[in-house]
């Protein structure tokens, strides 16, 4: 049941096209909504186990011979993600019912992709088996590709879809490499068993390589610097998709992966530096460029990049706790808690903000912030929700973002007390960069909400007459906004239910059960550095926001061609399209002769290479039959006939040469005691020659210009190579018998089993009767082909014939 639950969405997806076609009156989304709601209820029932630190495991065999199975491992971390996936999923489906028009859109496609994604994502967070984890991981990339490209007739959608696919799948492949290395080191595919073996894995040579590869997968998926460039382009997807995949769930898969593997990799210096450093850089970079954007969803995309960086950097700091003695009693305990807490908060406020961006787009017809303004009085509910979301994102009370932001600052401040891995020198940079990034976060949060809703309404520039969204569309963002506010007042309940069980999983080196996580969230904890930092953020942030029109130009100083997007375009267009195409065209010339040359050369090198590497060549003069005088004669005739075909000036001569070879072969059969073969060969050869002559009568003379074939060195080398290969093969085959011939069986049983005397014939019609049957079939097909070709006339000619 537990494993099956993962697959429920994709099974439900099979029914959708029928529902969409048959029941047009009801929006298909209502049927879809049942799936995440039911799963949400199901996963909620596991919470009472996970808060005690217990877990539920179920396994379903898939490929037992390769030790590959589907598994569902529900612990604190998996349950948190599963509830996010199904919870936000329900709200997003509800929202999409009003966002997507049932008469205009291809709803069945949309919801099939969405449900496919849901299964994939549940699989990622619940798999205990690294290979199936990878499978689901790539499935999320594929469904994300399909959803971004949902409006596939738009160029930008296709471009964005391809870009996200290229980057995330490339990262996924790296991750697969890391998984393979990890399972080789640990001797198991199970993540739980790998965690147990973490100390022995850490001393392995490939440890750091596996670590970097897995991080590449996580960083590409979670849009970390410098791979974030796919996320802004993914905003071409319908807004419900952006809210779901590209802010709340899929982009957090990388976070999940880092959290899940922290117990294994935390003891590595490389891990701490990469996760904390890249996370912090991404946080800063994303917040800096969010205010540059003019598209509402563009702002949110950069903000998502930045916030993912924040969570990532906290996870890096959480790994530091491994190196501190009795960390559970020190300031280092906060980072892990803050990471998970902010992950929940981010899902709530960013989800609501995305939905508001979608509402603004839906009701005004544009997302360009330069055309928007003054919507406050027209869309009061949307404005309120946007205000709550933005203030939470900026880190203001009384919203949940304030709590996790304070705790984030605590975590960053703890870095400067960390004495290992050169952090005593560089650690002080962490709180500084975090503070600067928070200021910019404040600026873009205000930029988003106030540029859209206050100021002067520019009705003339809007494609539609703006008005408040329908109630149904507002339900989901309002629910999320209520959560944003209520989490502020009940943070410790959320902490007990979701955060602590997850933290205990991430930091098993600190806590053995969720009860030991002795962290309580307070909105007020005195005039500490965190408080003064927040005051500074608000003061400087407000100032910068008010002066924004003056300094926004600064962004233009950075030239376009220097951006990472240009690098991607260069890779895709110049390197892949042009260079690779040229490289392919270099050898894929369309000439059959070239291709045959490659094939023969490959065969020759493989066979001769194997002969030498395996030392298989042998030459023995034992068991050879004597050579008689007529043998020599026949061989001479055969060689002369062959040479004739090679050097013939006219086609008749060539045919005669071929015929001579054929009849000689027949005579060879006579000598070698094969009367049946000789008879068949004689008959077939006669028919063949007749056929050749008949066909050649219609065929052109051998070209007059090229009367004799010009000698070509390349061809000759290949030909001689094949000839030499065959000779060597024949000599080796004759000179050593590794296994007993099966012919003896036929000789002994031919009379008793088949009741015949002519062994060759009995083999053909009895022992291997089906072979003969198929042989006849092949001949029949060839005959039909010949008949069809003779009857076939290209349509062009037929028409002209009809006209005559």
């Amino acid at each position: 049941m537990q494993v099956l639950a993962i697959f429920i969405p994709i099974i439900a997806a099979i029914l959708l096209p029928f529902l969409f076609k048959q029941i047009r009156a009801i929006h298909t989304g209502w049927f879809v909504l049942l799936v995440p709601l039911a799963l949400l209820g199901y996963y909620t029932s596991f919470i009472k186990q996970t808060i005690n630190g217990e877990s539920a495991v179920a396994v379903m065999e898939w490929i037992p011979s390769l030790d590959i199975s589907f598994s569902s491992y529900l612990d604190g971390l998996s349950i948190l993600f599963s509830i996010l996936i199904t919870g936000i999923g329900s709200l997003v489906v509800l929202y999409s019912i009003f966002y997507l028009d049932k008469t205009k859109e291809q709803l069945h496609n949309f919801y099939v992709y969405l449900l496919m994604f849901m299964t994939a994502m549940l699989g990622v967070v619940q798999s205990d088996h690294v290979i199936t984890l990878y499978l689901f991981w790539e499935l999320t990339s594929i469904s994300s590709f399909l959803l971004i490209g949902y409006w596939f007739n738009r160029d930008k959608s296709r471009f964005g879809a391809l870009k996200s696919m290229m980057i995330t799948v490339a990262g996924g492949l790296m991750m697969l490499g890391g998984f393979v290395l990890l399972s080789l080191m640990g001797g198991t595919f199970s993540i739980r068993e790998l965690i147990v073996q973490a100390p022995s894995i850490a001393s392995h040579d490939y440890f750091v390589l596996a670590l970097v590869l897995i991080l590449l997968g996580a960083f590409t998926k979670s849009a970390q610097f410098p791979f974030y460039i796919w996320l802004p382009d993914a905003m071409e997807a319908p807004t419900p998709v952006s809210a779901y995949l590209h802010s709340a769930t899929m982009v957090k898969a990388g976070i999940y992966l880092v959290a899940r593997f922290t117990p294994i990799f935390a003891l590595s210096e490389v891990w701490v530096w990469l996760v904390a450093g890249i996370g912090l850089l991404t946080l800063f970079w994303g917040s800096l460029f969010a205010s540059k954007q003019t598209d509402l969803k563009g702002i949110l995309a950069f903000s998502t990049v930045s916030q993912l960086g924040l969570i990532m950097s906290l996870l890096g700091v959480a790994a530091m706790a491994f190196h501190v003695e009795d960390a559970a009693g020190t300031v280092f305990k906060y980072a892990g808690f803050a990471a998970i807490f902010h992950l929940i908060n981010h899902a709530t406020f960013k989800g609501s903000l995305f939905m508001i961006a979608g509402i603004v787009d839906h009701e005004t017809g544009t997302r360009d912030i330069r055309k928007l303004g003054g919507l406050m009085s027209l869309m009061p509910v949307s404005f309120t929700v946007a205000l709550i979301g933005s203030f939470s994102m900026a880190g203001l009370p009384p919203f949940n973002g304030f709590l996790s932001k304070e705790m984030f600052l605590t975590g960053m401040l703890s870095v400067k007390e960390f004495g290992l891995f050169n952090f005593e020198t560089f650690g002080v940079l962490f709180p500084i960069i975090a503070w600067v990034a928070s200021v910019f976060t404040f600026v873009y949060s205000f930029y988003f909400v106030f540029k859209t809703f206050t100021g002067k309404l520019q009705a003339a520039k809007l494609p539609k007459k703006p008005h408040e969204a329908p109630v149904g569309m507002l339900v989901s963002p309002v629910i999320l906004a209520v959560l944003v506010v209520s989490i502020f007042f009940i943070p410790n309940l959320i902490g007990d239910l979701f955060v602590k069980p997850a933290v205990a999983v991430i930091q098993p080196f600190l806590y053995s059960s969720p009860d030991e996580v002795n962290i309580a969230v307070h909105a007020w904890h005195g005039f500490k550095p965190e408080f003064w930092m927040t005051v500074g953020i608000v003061a400087v942030g407000l100032l910068l926001f008010l002066l924004l029109p003056k300094w926004q130009k600064v962004y233009r100083i950075i030239p376009e061609w220097l951006s990472l997007n240009k690098l991607y375009d260069f890779m895709m267009n110049t390197v892949l399209d042009t260079l690779m195409e040229r490289f392919s065209n270099l050898y894929m010339t369309g000439s059959i002769r070239k291709y045959l040359t490659y094939m023969f050369a490959a065969i020759v090198s493989i066979v001769i290479g194997t002969l030498f590497i395996k030392d298989a060549f042998a030459l023995s003069f034992e068991n050879v039959s004597p050579i008689a005088i007529y043998d020599i004669t026949l061989i001479a005739v055969l060689v002369i006939g062959t040479l004739t075909t090679l050097f013939a000036k006219s086609r008749i001569t060539a045919i005669v040469g071929l015929g001579a070879v054929g009849y000689t072969v027949a005579l060879f059969f006579v000598i070698f005691n094969a009367p049946d073969l000789a008879l068949t060969q004689l008959v077939i050869e006669t028919i063949s020659v007749a056929l050749f002559l008949m066909a050649f009568y219609h065929l052109p003379k051998l070209s007059r210009v090229e009367e004799r074939m010009r000698f070509q060195v390349g061809r000759a080398i290949i030909a001689i190579g094949v000839g030499a290969m065959v000779t060597l093969l024949a000599l080796s085959a004759h000179s050593q018998k590794l296994v007993e011939s099966i012919s003896g069986y036929y000789k002994e049983t031919v009379y008793s089993l088949a009741g015949g005397g002519n062994i060759v014939n009995v083999i053909l019609v009895d022992y291997r009767g089906f072979d003969t049957l198929f042989e006849i079939t092949v001949l029949g097909i060839a005959g039909m082909g010949i008949y069809a070709m003779i009857k076939l006339r290209l349509s062009r000619k037929e028409k002209s014939n009809e006209n005559e």
Binding site: G590, F600, L619, S625, P626, I627, I635, L638, T642, T645, L646, A654, L658, V661, G662, V665, F668, F669, N673, A674, P675, D676, L677, T680, I684, L691, F692, A695, F696, H698, L699, P700, S703, M709, Q712, A719, G723, A724, M725, V726, T727, L729, A730, L731, H734, S741, I742, S743, K747, G757, N758, I759, V760, I763, D771, V778, A782, I786, M789, I790
Partner: protein
């Protein structure tokens, strides 16, 4: 004899490949013909050319030629005939439709797609 036949087979294969790599359809077909002859002799040689009498049960005969390669070759002869006939008609029709028997001229260019 087997040693000599190994070289004969190699020679046949060499000539066949040389012809198959030419431009003219006719030579390619002749090449495939030679190739099948070479293959038949190769199978026979690899099985051993010994044996005093044909593989037909008879009074007092114990040393038969190996029947298995012969059975394989018998099938192969017929199939190669089918292939040759098919090729010939294909070449004939291609020449009628395209006006050439030069494979390099038959090659489709990108503009034809």
């Amino acid at each position: 004899m087997e040693i000599v036949m190994a070289f004969v087979c190699g020679f046949l294969f060499m000539a066949a490949i040389y012809l198959i790599l030419s431009r003219s359809l006719l030579r390619i077909i002749i090449g495939t013909g030679l190739l099948s002859h070479g293959a038949h002799l190769l199978i026979l040689t690899m099985g051993g050319l010994g044996g005093e009498s044909p593989p037909v049960l008879g009074e007092g005969v114990t040393d038969y030629a190996d029947p298995l390669p012969q059975a394989l070759i018998l099938t192969a002869i017929v199939i190669s005939f089918g292939v040759t006939a098919f090729f010939l008609v294909l070449a004939y029709r291609a020449y009628q439709e395209l006006g050439t028997d030069d494979t390099t001229k038959m090659k489709g260019s990108d503009e034809d797609d």
